[in-house]
Symmetry: C2
Subunit: 317 residues, 2 copies
């Protein structure tokens, strides 16, 4: 018992004894068995993270930052990929929750009834990423992110201010966050009296460069003097920029193109892409810190942490 306590730093063990224990453990190469720990204490040192995709830098940034904070605190990440499917997410929860993860990090709030039930039944501490919970008074929920709706407006308004009048919106994937950005775009256009549902092009397909090119094509077929396009994601916008290049369309003079997320390649594009920079690493790190506080029964300063975003003006608009 004393060794167990000394190594975990739990309760008080005389400093001299604790040092000796650690020294001997090191010398013998003794490492506590995580399985036995988990069995005896009824909780593991794993934190389950479920992201929609791994092939988007966005989520990788989140994971890397969270890993750094949690690994330093002795926790390990168990990474699940839901492919934007509530059913797959539920399947992952069903598979991983029995491992009694110490905590959870989930993306957004949209999930199946089964998932919600599993989560409630497990009672595991959970932090939600990317989206803030709409109800700021929901004290039981923890979230770190920014307002996707505001960010959508924050891209649209400057475009309006610059004089663009027929601004199309291209969305793919159509997950909750994309729809919120769309909502922000709509509100901004409405406020300017320029709303037109015909300017919205939505596709349920996975976001990609190739799809960006296709969506630009659709925009061009709209006619009616579309002078700017707000893509819900930099992937799409990059694809559109390349397509414009292929078609000999001048950006931004013939058509302006804007994206969202500020992915690595966006600054390199020709012309460089105007986009909204989102603080993925900070979200991952802060969410991990919040989870750690939850796990250690420390008071959490804010259960709804808004990390904002900012507009990055480049030459594509």
């Amino acid at each position: 018992m004393t060794v167990s306590r000394a190594l975990r730093g739990e309760r008080r063990v005389a400093a001299a004894l604790a040092d000796k224990v650690r020294e001997v453990a090191l010398r013998l190469g003794y490492v506590p068995d995580p399985a036995a720990r988990a069995l005896a204490s009824q909780k593991s040192n794993q934190v389950l993270v479920i992201v929609p995709l791994l092939s988007n830098t966005l989520f990788v940034d989140l994971i890397e930052a969270a890993h750094k904070v949690l690994f330093a605190a002795g926790y390990h990440l168990l990474i699940g990929v839901s492919h934007y499917s509530a059913a797959e997410e539920e399947q992952l929860l069903r598979a991983y929750l029995p491992m009694r993860p110490a905590g959870l990090m989930l993306t957004g709030y949209e999930r199946s009834a089964g998932s919600a039930q599993l989560l409630a039944a497990s009672g595991t501490a959970c932090v939600h990423l990317m989206e803030l919970h709409p109800d700021s008074a929901a004290a039981r929920l923890h979230s770190v992110g920014f307002s996707q709706l505001d960010a959508g407006a924050a891209m649209t308004e400057p475009l309006l201010a610059r004089g663009y009048r027929r601004i199309a919106f291209c969305g793919a994937q159509l997950d909750a966050r994309v729809m919120q950005r769309l909502q922000g775009y709509r509100q901004a256009l409405q406020q300017a009296g320029l709303a037109d549902p015909g300017l919205e092009i939505l596709s349920p397909e996975r976001s990609s460069l190739a799809l960006g090119a296709q969506l630009l094509d659709q925009v061009l077929q709209l006619g009616g003097g579309v002078d700017a396009v707000f893509f819900c994601n930099d992937d799409l916008a990059q694809g559109a920029l390349l397509a414009a290049n292929r078609l000999g369309l001048a950006v931004p003079t013939q058509i302006a193109i804007a994206g969202f997320n500020d992915l690595p390649g966006s600054a390199q594009m020709v012309p460089p892409l105007t986009t909204i920079h989102t603080p993925r690493s900070a979200i991952g790190a802060e969410a991990a810190t919040m989870l750690l506080q939850l796990l250690q029964d420390q008071p959490v300063a804010q259960n709804r942490l808004d990390l904002g975003y900012h507009l990055v003006r480049r030459a594509s608009t």
Copy 2:
């Protein structure tokens, strides 16, 4: 004991009884505790995968494919990211090996002495990804991939055949696989009597679009009529293509650009990028299958599985 056996399908349990057990387990929502299983059986159902990076589609493809095969067999992935650092890899092994993963999937063969020792001491089944082991007779080692050296030559030779004479090589990261591709490039040039160490530009930095642009700059400063550049990675090549576009350099007429790996964006570039397509998903899936055979003590058909690669000729050369 009978329930345990019925649920695992281990040994023979009367079919009727086994069905009944499963039915009751389902009804009660009973799921065996993985920690208790791990403690009693001295092995977990987790497979540790260590990749250099998550921000490269290459490794994500590997992981997704391996996950699919292993998840279906009841195993879970424990993903570690080494950032191309042998020290970080060792740290990950030190953290994760005590969890007694059922198996391991590692990238390449370069690792620290400490890592090698940990691996040997653990005796865990291990499959190596991407690179084939140079010694095909090393029966104890299991690998799935392709010859990086041959692939390097397979890009260089067609360039020579097309009449390019001053072919530069740009490499970043400089991990083992990049160096093998470089070797293939060298051999091809030597065979053609066109070798020139001055045409090699190597940078230890992380591969990125921005670095690709910088490396292209360096190539242009070489002078001497460089007519083609083989980038060790599509990231770099894409960056170079964009940079050429910015500089008003015509590709491929003024300079031809080739990459490696056939990443998603490469076909979308202007002009589309000539590259080597590598079978990442197949490697992940086959490696997982091989590991599964190892875990179930089934005979493994080949302990060194060559999945090849192929040249994708596009307009950038």
